[in-house]
Amino acid sequence: MASITHPGHGDGHHGAHDEHHGPGGVFHQYIDLEQQNDSYIVGMWTFLVTEVMFFGALFLIYGLYRYAYSQDWFLAHEHLDYVMGGVNTFNLLVSSLFMALAVRAAQLKDRKVVLRLLGGVMVCAAIFMVIKYFEYTGKFHENLYPGPTFTKNAEILHGANLNKAQMFFGLYFAMTGLHGVHVVVGMLIIGKLMHMWWKKNPMVTEDYIPTELVGLYWHFVDLVWIFLYPLFYLMPRPDALAAHASGGGGH
């Protein structure tokens, strides 16, 4: 194996250690560009696996209590606005598409298109946070955040058991909040990436991998929301409550 030449260097590996292969080239510890890119991608996925574990534990708690308190959680979930959540779902979907196209443009080294598309992702992320802000403040005004000040008014929760509803809103804030933090972190990273593209930093203009890795992170943020949206905003009506469904729209 040691006799393998380094094709990425063109003229074999003579003087490979003296030459500095900057961004876009193959660093001397790799056999070729493919292996180099592969290790970046696998490294990023290793990080994403820890993120799956992070969110996975919360989804486990969610599944447990959703099973135990399905009726009360259904009644509490009716307080969430599925239209706002739906707009945000579509919003993140579009941002994900923008990001995928930005990575494609980075592969083609089309700086202008990359900047425009990343700008589009930033706008989508900002809209997402603004909608979340309105959703959260609405809940705060009605004392629907968990804690000793949690509302005593069962009527606004359609008669749900207040303790179980509190559990619902606790997980709602924990999971969508953690997701929101990821959106903000994503905005910071994409902002930095845009800055590098703007300054024509060869690290990003000559090598598409940094853009690809930021893209992987952003798609993961979208991925989490794909599950959060149906689980929190679109709960089906439990059988025991189906009788009340007639008349349409419930409360």
């Binding site: 070729d32 493919e34 696998v42 486990l60 979907l93 592969q107 794909i226 599950f227 149906p230």
Partner: protein
Amino acid sequence: MASSPLQAAAHAHGDHGHHVQPLSFYFKTGAVLTVGMILTIAAYKYNWGGTYIIANVIALTIAFVKAGFVVWNFMHVKFASTLGKMFAFLGFLWLPVLMVILVDYGFRNHEQSPSFQLNGEETAFPRQLKSKDHQPNSPNSVNTQNRTPYGRAF
């Protein structure tokens, strides 16, 4: 397994070690995701009338299909090396393994040791004391009526 230096060189010089997909590839994926989102909302608005499990299965199935498209096409796992694919797959395989922990809650009723709150109404998964010295009218007694296989009816 390893490509010949000639091939690798062609790769490195030719398309820079990656394959640029046509624009339609991404737009089609985006369209599939949009349709999935609309289907999820439509399934939510549709009155399944006493088929809670089916409604849940449908919602989650659509979510998993959407997630698959994002991971496979947008996250480029489709074009990743075997090692890359393996990392992505194992990362998500871990989730169902974690969910198996939930099985534990099915057996809580049969646990011999008392829990901190045996029959509290606010306990999600109350435990049932089955020891011989179980006193029917003691504070620890458990109402065996209205019980589901997974604990007290909620």
